[in-house]
C-alpha cells in the first residue's frame, strides 16, 4: 500500500466519521429548530388556520399580525422597560459577581469556603418559593408598586434579580479566576498595581469569555422574567415585555397567531445578543468545560 493510498484512506475515514456525526446531529438540530420555525409560521397565520393549515409556509402570510401584536400587546412601552431592566440587571450581576468571585478565588478569609457554599445553596431556592417573604420584605422597604412613583418599584424589581443572579454567576466565574496564573498578578503588583488595579487591568480582560457567558445567561433570565414583575408591579406601564404576551393568552381563549408574533418579537433581541457574542460565549463555555 503506497503512502498516497494510506492518506486517501485516512481522509475517507475522517469524512465518514464526519458524515456519521452529521447524521446524528442533524435530527437533533432539526428538533431544536422546528419549534422556532413553527412559531414563525404560526405567527403568519390566522386564528382560523393555525390548527388547520399545517404547512410551514402559509399560503397567505399575515404579516400584519406583528403590527397587531405590537399595538394590542402594548409592546412599545414593555420593550423599553425590558431593555432597561435587562441592561441594569446584567450590569449589576456582572459587576458584583466578578468582584465576589475574584475575592472567593484569591483571598483566604475565615469561613470563605462556608460562605461560598452557602451562596451556592441559594441557587436551590426558586423565586416562586420565596414569593411571600420577598413581597413582605419589598413592601417594608417601600419597593412594591402602590400606584405612585416609578423609580422605587423599578428598583424593587431590579435588586432581587441581581441578588438572584449572583450565585450562578459567581459559580461560573470563580473557577475561571482560579485558572488564571497567580504570577500574572504578582508581576502587575511589582509594576505598582493595587488590588483593584490588578482586578481591572489583568483579571477582568482575561475573564472576558466567562463574563460573556454570565452576561448572556443573565440577560436571558432578565429578559424572560415575569413572575417577579407581577409581584412587584401593579401598573402596566412599569411591566416588562413578557406581560405583553399575556394579552393574547386568556384563561379560555388563546390568540395563537398574535401570541406567536409577540414571541418572535420578544426573542429577537436575545438572538441578536447571542449572534454578536457568539464567539466569546463558546470560548467561555468551552473553557468552563475544560476546567470541569
Amino acid at each position: 500500500m503506497t503512502g498516497g493510498t494510506v492518506i486517501a484512506l485516512q481522509r475517507l475515514r475522517q469524512q465518514a466519521a464526519q458524515w456519521a456525526w452529521h447524521v446524528v446531529c442533524l435530527p437533533v438540530a432539526a428538533s431544536c429548530l422546528f419549534p422556532l420555525a413553527w412559531m414563525v409560521s404560526s405567527s403568519l397565520k390566522t386564528q382560523q388556520t393555525v390548527f388547520t393549515d399545517f404547512s410551514l409556509i402559509p399560503a397567505v402570510p399575515h404579516v400584519e399580525n406583528y403590527a397587531r401584536a405590537w399595538i394590542q400587546g402594548r409592546f412599545g412601552i414593555y420593550f423599553l422597560n425590558s431593555l432597561g431592566y435587562t441592561v441594569l440587571v446584567v450590569a449589576g450581576v456582572v459587576a458584583c459577581s466578578a468582584l465576589a468571585a475574584y475575592a472567593f478565588s484569591r483571598f483566604t478569609f475565615r469561613g470563605s469556603g462556608f460562605f461560598y457554599k452557602l451562596l451556592l445553596s441559594t441557587m436551590l431556592i426558586p423565586i416562586p418559593g420565596a414569593f411571600v417573604a420577598l413581597y413582605i420584605l419589598l413592601n417594608q422597604l417601600g419597593l412594591i408598586d402602590q400606584g405612585s412613583g416609578q423609580w422605587l418599584p423599578r428598583l424593587g424589581y431590579i435588586l432581587p434579580q441581581i441578588n438572584g443572579g449572583l450565585p450562578f454567576a459567581i459559580f461560573i466565574l470563580k473557577p475561571f479566576f482560579d485558572g488564571i496564573p497567580k504570577e500574572l498578578e504578582e508581576s502587575a503588583e511589582v509594576d505598582g498595581c493595587g488590588v483593584l488595579g490588578v482586578f481591572w487591568h489583568i483579571m477582568l480582560p482575561l475573564a472576558r469569555p466567562a463574563l460573556g457567558v454570565v452576561a448572556l445567561l443573565t440577560s436571558l433570565a432578565a429578559w424572560n422574567e415575569f413572575l417577579l414583575a407581577y409581584l412587584v408591579f401593579s401598573r402596566h406601564e412599569l411591566m416588562p415585555l413578557q406581560r405583553g404576551l399575556l394579552a393574547f393568552h386568556g384563561a379560555h381563549l388563546t390568540e395563537y397567531p398574535l401570541l406567536m408574533a409577540g414571541m418572535v418579537i420578544s426573542i429577537v433581541p436575545i438572538v441578536a445578543i447571542y449572534l454578536v457574542m457568539q464567539r466569546t460565549i463558546i470560548q467561555g463555555i468551552t473553557a468552563g468545560a475544560v476546567k470541569g
Binding site: 414569593f131 413582605i136 417601600g142 400606584g147 428598583l155 384563561a251
Partner: protein
C-alpha cells in the same frame, strides 16, 4: 511580603466598602421611607385585581366610562396565570396590601379563610338596601355561590360576600353539519340515542365526543350531573355524609355510564389525556360531533372558526322521568376589601358594574352570560341556550355538605381508569369507598387527638 501588604490593603478597603454599603443601604431605606407617605397622601384610583386576561380591554373600557360618569378613577390590574394571581393575593393579604376590589381563586375553604381573616367585606347590608334592589338584579344561583348559609362548615357569618360578574354552566355542544352527515337533524335527547350516534360516528371514522378529561374537574362535572340525575341530590349528599356507600348499586350504575361511553366508541381516542384546549380545537375545526364544554366555549369557537354551525343542549337523560341538571353558577366574582377605607366607593363601583348597561357591554365584548338577569334577556342563540338553563344548574359549593377532596380525586381518577379499560365500575366503587373509609378514620383520629389535647388543657 507584597502579598501580605495587598491583603492588608484589601482589609482596609473592605472596611471602607462595608461602610459605604451601609451608608448606601441607609440612603436607600431613607428614600424608601420617604416614598411611602407620599403614596398615602394622594388617594389614587380604585384598584381592582383580577386574572381574566381575555377581559382586560373590556374592563379598561368600563373603567374609562365610569370615570366619565362619576369622576372616580378605577384601575383594573391584571395578574395571570391564575397560580401567580393566587400567590400575589395571599402575599398582599399578609402585608395589608390588598386593593379595594379583588377576586379570590380556589376552593370554598380558601374564600372562607379570607373572610374569617377579615379581608372580605360582608355585602348583605349593601345587597338589602332599597328593598333588595342590588340583590334582585342577579341570577339567584350566581349569588348563591358567593353566599354562606347559616350552618356552613367554615364558621363564616351567614350572608353574601361576593359580587358575580358573569355566570357559566357546562353543557353539550353539537356540530349540526356532522350530525346531518350521520342522518340526524336533532341532537339525541336520551342516553341510548346518544350512544347510538356515537356508534354511527365511530363507523364513519368520525370523532364522536371530546372534552378535556385530562382535567379532573371536567370529569367530575359530567359525573356529578349524572349522579344527581340518576339518584337525586339527597342520595348524593347522603353519600358525602357517609350514610350511603359508593358501592351502592346506584353509584355503580353511574360509574357504569362511563364504561358504556367507552364501549360505544363515542369517545375521542386518548380522551383521558386530552386537555380542554385540545378538545376545543377539535370541535372548533369541525372534527368532533359533540363537545362537553362550558359557556366560554362560545367565545373560543367563534374565535377559532366563525363559520362553525353548532347548537347547545343539556347532556342526554338516562331516565326520561327525572330532571337533568348541569354544573354552573357564578363564573367570576369580585370581593370588597373589608380593610380598605374606600369600601363604599368600591361597593358603588360594583353596583354600577353589575347594572344592565355595563353587563350588556361585557356580554358583547367577552361572549359570557351576564350575572344580571335583565342583561341576559335577549342573548344570541348559543348563549341564550346556556342562560335558559341557569335555573337547572348545580354547584358543589351549594351542596349542604362537601365531599373530601381526596375522595373526589379517587372518584375522578377511577373514572379515568374505567375509560381506559383498566378497572371495572365495581372495582372503582370499592376503591373510592375505601378512600372514603380511610379519610373518615383519619378525621376521627384527628378529632380524638384534638379532644384529648383540650382535655389535657
Amino acid at each position: 511580603m507584597t502579598r501580605i501588604k495587598s491583603v492588608r490593603h484589601l482589609t482596609q478597603r473592605g472596611t471602607c466598602l462595608t461602610l459605604l454599603a451601609l451608608a448606601g443601604s441607609a440612603v436607600l431605606l431613607g428614600i424608601a421611607g420617604c416614598g411611602k407617605p407620599k403614596a398615602a397622601q394622594q388617594p389614587g384610583p380604585l384598584r381592582v385585581w383580577h386574572w381574566m386576561t381575555d377581559r382586560e380591554a373590556a374592563f379598561d373600557e368600563l373603567a374609562r366610562r365610569y370615570q366619565q360618569e362619576t369622576g372616580t378613577r378605577v384601575r383594573f390590574e391584571l395578574y395571570a396565570p391564575s397560580d401567580i394571581y393566587v400567590q400575589k393575593v395571599r402575599a398582599a393579604a399578609q402585608t395589608g396590601g390588598l386593593p379595594e376590589i379583588y377576586g379570590v381563586l380556589g376552593e370554598l375553604r380558601d374564600l372562607a379563610s379570607f373572610i374569617n381573616a377579615g379581608h372580605v367585606l360582608p355585602l348583605e347590608e349593601a345587597m338589602s338596601r332599597n328593598g333588595n334592589a342590588w340583590r334582585s338584579v342577579f341570577f339567584p344561583k350566581a349569588l348563591a355561590v358567593n353566599t354562606f348559609t347559616r350552618e356552613n362548615a367554615y364558621g363564616v357569618a351567614p350572608g353574601v360576600y361576593g359580587v358575580p360578574v358573569d355566570v357559566m354552566n357546562v353543557q353539550l355542544f353539537y356540530n349540526k353539519r356532522l350530525l346531518a352527515t350521520l342522518g340526524l337533524d336533532q341532537p339525541p335527547d336520551t342516553w341510548e340515542a346518544f350512544l347510538d350516534v356515537g356508534r354511527r360516528a365511530a363507523a364513519q371514522r368520525l370523532i364522536g365526543f371530546v372534552s378535556g378529561w385530562a382535567e379532573l374537574w371536567l370529569i367530575d362535572c359530567f359525573a356529578t350531573d349524572y349522579a344527581i340525575h340518576e339518584m337525586g341530590m339527597k342520595q348524593v349528599e347522603a353519600t358525602y355524609r357517609g350514610k350511603v356507600p359508593y358501592t351502592d348499586p346506584d353509584w355503580v350504575r353511574v360509574l357504569g355510564r362511563f364504561a358504556e361511553l367507552r364501549d360505544s366508541g363515542v369517545l375521542a381516542e386518548g380522551i383521558v389525556a386530552m386537555g380542554n384546549k385540545r378538545a376545543e380545537q377539535l370541535f372548533a375545526n369541525g372534527q368532533a360531533v359533540f363537545a362537553f364544554n362550558g359557556t366560554w366555549g362560545v367565545n373560543v369557537y367563534q374565535s377559532m372558526n366563525p363559520a362553525l354551525e353548532y347548537g347547545v343542549v343539556m347532556p342526554p337523560r338516562t331516565d326520561p322521568n327525572r330532571p337533568m341538571v348541569t354544573w354552573g353558577g357564578a363564573g367570576s366574582s369580585f370581593f370588597v376589601n373589608a380593610k380598605s377605607p374606600r369600601r363604599e366607593e368600591a361597593i358603588a363601583f360594583l353596583t354600577w358594574l353589575t347594572a344592565e348597561p355595563q353587563q350588556r357591554y361585557l356580554t358583547e365584548a367577552t361572549q359570557n352570560i351576564p350575572a344580571n338577569r335583565s342583561a341576559a334577556a335577549d342573548l344570541p342563540a348559543p348563549l341564550a341556550a346556556f342562560a335558559d338553563d341557569m335555573d337547572d344548574t348545580v354547584h358543589p359549593r351549594l351542596f349542604s355538605v362537601q365531599e373530601e377532596s381526596t375522595v373526589i380525586e379517587a372518584f375522578d381518577k377511577g373514572i379515568q381508569s374505567i375509560l381506559i379499560g383498566e378497572r371495572t365500575p365495581e372495582e372503582v366503587a370499592a376503591r373510592v369507598q375505601e378512600t372514603k373509609r380511610l379519610e373518615a378514620s383519619r378525621r376521627a383520629t384527628r378529632a380524638a387527638r384534638q379532644e384529648g389535647g383540650h382535655a389535657i388543657d
